[in-house]
C-alpha cells in the first residue's frame, strides 16, 4: 500500500535510504505555548509498517505531539526526522504533508465538496493528477473504506462514522507513507466507533504505517505493535501491547490503565 523511499526534499533525485533508518524520528522534541510547557524532551521513532498507539490522559500533549510531526505546530526545540532528513524548518511543511497524512477527531471534510471531490482535491491540486486519474484513485480508496456508494453525498448528509471513513479515504488518496490519527473515534456515537476501528484495522493489516492517538484500549491491544504512554508532556513508558497492558513497569501507567 505504501510506496516508499522517494526522497521528498530533493525532488525525484534518488538518495540511498538506510534500511535501519526509521520513517519518522522525533528527537528531544520540546513544545511550549508561551510559558506553558506542553512537551518535554520527547524521543521516539516510527518504523515502516509500525502501528503505534499513543495513549494517555487528556491534556498530556498527545495531539500537540502529532501536530508537531506534520508541522501544524512548530516545535520549540528538538528535531523531526523523516527518512533521516531534518524537516523541522516550517517552510518545508507542505512538501512533508503530502507524505504524512492526518485524520482528525472532527473529520474536517470540505463542506462545499461532495465525497468524491473531497477525495480528489489533494491528488489534483497537490499531486497534479488528471481528473480521471484522481477519480479512479478516489473510488479505489472509497471502496476500501466502504463509502464508494456515497460519492455524490455532501458531508452534512453523512453520519459521523461515514464522515470519518471518507476522511480516511481522502488521506489515503495521497498515498501517505504514514498516517496520523488524532482520536479518530472520540467524536462518534458509540454505535459508529466499530465501523471506523474496523476500517483502521484493515489498513493496519495491509501494512499501512500508522500513528494513532486513541482512548480505545481494545484497539491498542489488538492492532498496535507498539504502545506509547504519555503523561504531563513526557513519554512515561513505551513497549509492546502485551508488555504495556499486562505488566506495565511504571506506577503512572498502571494507574492510568486501571482507570480506563
Amino acid at each position: 500500500m505504501t510506496e516508499n523511499s522517494t526522497p521528498y526534499l530533493q525532488n525525484g533525485a534518488v538518495t540511498a535510504t538506510n534500511a535501519d533508518e526509521p520513517l519518522v524520528r522525533v528527537e528531544h522534541l520540546g513544545k511550549s505555548f508561551g510559558d506553558h510547557i506542553v512537551l518535554k524532551d520527547i524521543d521516539f521513532s516510527v518504523r515502516q509498517g509500525d502501528v503505534t498507539c499513543i495513549i494517555g490522559p487528556s491534556g498530556s500533549g498527545k495531539s500537540t505531539l502529532l501536530r508537531c510531526i506534520n508541522l501544524f505546530e512548530q516545535p520549540t526545540s528538538g528535531r523531526i526526522l523523516f527518512h533521516g532528513e531534518n524537516v523541522t524548518a516550517a517552510r518545508k511543511a507542505n512538501l512533508l504533508r503530502r507524505r504524512v497524512g492526518m485524520v482528525f477527531q472532527s473529520f474536517n471534510l470540505f463542506n462545499n465538496l461532495n465525497v468524491l471531490h473531497n477525495c480528489t482535491l489533494g491528488p489534483r491540486k497537490v499531486l497534479k493528477l488528471k481528473r480521471a486519474e484522481a477519480e479512479a484513485l478516489a473510488l479505489k480508496y472509497l471502496r476500501v473504506v466502504g463509502m464508494d456508494a456515497f460519492v455524490n453525498a455532501k458531508p452534512r448528509q453523512l453520519s459521523g462514522g461515514q464522515k470519518q471513513r471518507v476522511a480516511i479515504a481522502r488521506a489515503l488518496c495521497m498515498n501517505p507513507e504514514v498516517l496520523l490519527f488524532d482520536e479518530p473515534t472520540s467524536a462518534l456515537d458509540p454505535e459508529m466507533v466499530g465501523e471506523v476501528l474496523a476500517t483502521m484495522k484493515t489498513l493496519a493489516e495491509q501494512g499501512l504505517t500508522m500513528l494513532v492517538v486513541t482512548h480505545e484500549m481494545g484497539f491498542a491491544r489488538d492492532v498496535a505493535n507498539h504502545v506509547v504512554f504519555m503523561d504531563g508532556g513526557v513519554i512515561v513508558e513505551e513497549g509492546s501491547p502485551e508488555q504495556m497492558f499486562t505488566s506495565p513497569r511504571q506506577e503512572r501507567t498502571k494507574a492510568f490503565l486501571s482507570r480506563s
Binding site: 507542505n94 482528525f104 473529520f107 470540505f110 462545499n112 482535491l121 452534512r156 495521497m174 467524536a187
Partner: protein, 249 residues
C-alpha cells in the same frame, strides 16, 4: 400619477436602466474588490521579515481605504472624486456614467472588503487544517475550500448591499447622473406634481428592490442544493434516492 407614467415612461425607464446599470456593476465590481482585499488581509503573516513589512504596509493602506469610504457619505465622495478629477485635468470632467460606476464600485468595495473578511474568518479552522494536512498551500485552500463556503455564507449581506446600491445611486444626481431620482426631479420641474411624481418613483424603487431581493433569495436556495443524494450501486437496481435529516455536528 398615471398621466405622469404615460407621458414620461420613456424617461422613467431610462432612469431605471441607469440606476440598475450602476447598481449591478457597482455591486459586482465592489464584490470583486472586496474579495481581493478580504483574501489579502487573511493571508497569514509571512515569516520573512521584509515580506512581513510589505504585508503590514498593505494591510494599513487597505484598512485606511475601508475606513475612509465607510466613514464618509457617498454623496460627498461623488463630489470629491468628480470635481477632483476635473481639477487635475484642467477642468475637463470625467464622463458622468463612468464617474457614477467608479464611485459606487469603490464605495461598495469598502463595505464588501469587511463582509468578505468576516465571511472568511468565520469558516471553521478545521477546514483549513483538513486542506493543509493534504499538502495544499494557503492559496489553494482559500480558492478551493474556504472562499466557496464564505461566499455562500455572505450572500445575504451581498444581496443587502445590492439593494442599498439601488437606492443609493440616487445620490449620484449631485453630479448630474440621469438615474431614477434625477429623472424624477426633472419631471417635477415640468409638471409641478411633486407628490405624485415622488410617490410614483418610490413605487418604482420598491418594485426594483423587492424584485431583486426575491431573485437573490431564490439564488441562495439554488446554491444550497437539494437535501437528497443518490446512493449508487445499491441492491435496488433503480438507484434509490435517499432523503436524510440534515445533520450538523
Amino acid at each position: 400619477m398615471l398621466e405622469i407614467l404615460r407621458e414620461y415612461y420613456s424617461d422613467i425607464l431610462l432612469g431605471v436602466g441607469y440606476t440598475m446599470l450602476v447598481a449591478v456593476i457597482g455591486t459586482l465590481a465592489g464584490l470583486l474588490i472586496g474579495i481581493l482585499i478580504g483574501v489579502y488581509r487573511t493571508i497569514p503573516n509571512p515569516k520573512n521579515k521584509v515580506a512581513l513589512v510589505f504585508k503590514k504596509a498593505g494591510d494599513y493602506l487597505l484598512s485606511a481605504y475601508v475606513e475612509v469610504f465607510r466613514g464618509t457619505p457617498m454623496m460627498v465622495q461623488a463630489m470629491v472624486i468628480f470635481w477632483g478629477f476635473a481639477l487635475l485635468n484642467d477642468g475637463k470632467t470625467l464622463d458622468v456614467t463612468v464617474s457614477g460606476l467608479v464611485i459606487v464600485s469603490v464605495n461598495t468595495g469598502a463595505y464588501m472588503a469587511e463582509i468578505v473578511r468576516g465571511g472568511i474568518i468565520s469558516i471553521d479552522k478545521g477546514q483549513f487544517e483538513g486542506a493543509h494536512a493534504l499538502g495544499l498551500t494557503h492559496a489553494q485552500t482559500m480558492f478551493n475550500v474556504v472562499l466557496p463556503q464564505a461566499m455562500r455564507n455572505i450572500l445575504p449581506s451581498v444581496s443587502n448591499e445590492f439593494v442599498i446600491n439601488i437606492k443609493d445611486t440616487s445620490v449620484l444626481n449631485v453630479i448630474g447622473f440621469t438615474e431614477l431620482f434625477f429623472v424624477a426631479k426633472d419631471i417635477v420641474t415640468q409638471t409641478y406634481k411633486t407628490f405624485q411624481t415622488y410617490l410614483l418613483v418610490a413605487m418604482v424603487y420598491f418594485v426594483l428592490t423587492f424584485g431583486i431581493s426575491m431573485i437573490l433569495r431564490l439564488v441562495e436556495r439554488k446554491m444550497d442544493g437539494g437535501k437528497n443524494y443518490k446512493i449508487l450501486g445499491s441492491q435496488n437496481p433503480d438507484a434509490e434516492t435517499f432523503a436524510r435529516e440534515v445533520k450538523h455536528d
